[in-house]
Symmetry: C2
């Protein structure tokens, strides 16, 4: 029986295009993948869809809407409709950072919320869920305007149905409010995904030095318990942005990720059945 | 009349020893400096004390107690007594990161608090105040166990008299609870210092890529207002860890820092009188 492990294509994207990535996941008996719109563009939507169907793979996460500049927002509706055609479980919202010259965080956050509200109404029409993923505070300003689970929960509370959040250990492991905010998200039934990787000490690059699970200092079983205790029953998604792992053979990377997940999350990987 | 600007020696430490640093600050009419114990060691305590006295410079911040390993904790009493001899306004607590193999953050945080409580009783005997400085979450695990103003306030609430906190814009500018936690610290009368620098986009290194005030995206006047509104009346301390600035002439760095402070914080630099 397959494990409830999902690989995010970004983990191997430097050396595996979407079709190769799909084949690698299918060969290992995985049930679903998380994919990227720009990688669909490279191989063509028809080819990508056909490969997924033939491999019997569902789409878990779809990356992504954003950043919030004019060019990307103009494409949001088309992107959300494409995500719906791929029957993605959820579509990531990537806010991007501050506009050039912007320093007023209250204004930037307010504008960001207004944009998410607009995207949500499009997503509801398209029939897909939006996923907020708070990123690490070191990416605030440059890549995101949303850097805590608390804000993600606050936003979801205000925005209503059709939007939830994803817990990525890399971004939130340090947060003293981690357990409380995971519990809060769980009570609201809005935990859409659980991303794993690891925090290396020292970390040498803000974007491309994530670790393989087990190679860093994050208490992965502890956060997994928090997420499960909060009611999450979905898969574990492996998402590693790493120059070191990108250089390696994609098959080896995926095999290592699966082996680490089985070792670190034995309960979550114990054949709990199909995707929720 | 001198400005209420304090330069932290770390800003120029690669090319100016403590005696040169003192001379540079004195020549510019500054009233106080923030210093480092390891830099005192290099020139000798007698020489360092004499230079400060002759320059008429007070000591604002004293760096530092920690990291919390056996070797450093064994020296804590001597370090705090030395800080008292230098009549430092406050002494920084530098927790350091996780012990090797430690992943249990609740246990690590609890041990950290116990250590700070012990240091506080020594500091009270020595007659110096301790300053908690929450560092940026990207340094959590490696360099600190304290990465939010909220935790610093919580710790101070529990530990009682003789301990406060320092607001360093670099570490906290992104925090959605920034204003609330600064107000809370102000109400408790525990804001001991206000450190300025800037966040560069993109940031290329986790430790050594801070910007000069005005070169990044932090709303410096906005945070200055928060701190002043919360009742802080002390100096603005410039602390920039930057390979780029460390390579430049220390006099040029200090002159640039003073000019930027006068331009960005005109009210705070408007001859408000002596150090509080």
């Amino acid at each position: 029986m397959p494990d409830k492990i999902v690989i995010n294509h970004a983990t191997v994207r430097e050396r595996a295009d979407m079709l190769s990535f799909i084949a690698l996941c299918a060969e290992r008996g995985l049930e679903a993948v998380s994919i990227w719109g720009d990688e669909i563009d490279k191989v063509g939507e028809a080819e990508a869809s056909k490969a997924l169907a033939e491999a019997g793979l569902e789409v878990f996460g779809y990356n992504r809407i954003g950043p919030f500049d004019e060019a990307h927002l103009a494409r949001a509706e088309a992107e959300l409709e494409r995500a719906a055609r791929f029957e993605a479980d959820h579509v990531f919202v990537f806010t991007g950072g501050l506009a050039p010259g912007e320093r007023d965080l209250a204004a930037a956050r307010s504008q960001c919320e207004a944009t998410i509200a607009e995207l949500l109404s499009i997503a509801r029409r398209a029939g897909v869920k939006l996923a907020l993923e708070p990123l690490h505070p070191m990416l605030f300003g440059d890549r995101t305007l949303l850097a805590s689970l608390r804000e993600a929960n606050d936003l979801c509370d205000r925005l209503g149905e059709g939007i939830g959040l994803v817990v990525d250990v890399y971004h939130v492991w340090w947060d003293p409010q981690l357990r409380a905010e995971i519990e809060r998200a769980g009570r609201a039934g809005r935990i859409l995904g659980f991303h794993v990787n690891d925090w290396l000490v020292p970390t040498r690059h803000l974007l491309k030095d994530r670790g393989m699970m087990g190679d860093g200092v994050i208490d992965l079983p502890g956060i997994d318990r928090m997420v499960r205790d909060a009611g999450y029953r979905g898969p574990i998604e492996v998402e590693i942005f790493s120059d070191a792992w990108w250089q390696r053979d994609p098959a080896e990377v995926i095999d290592t990720a699966i082996a680490r997940c089985r070792s670190i999350f034995p309960d979550a990987c114990a054949n709990e059945g199909a995707l929720t």
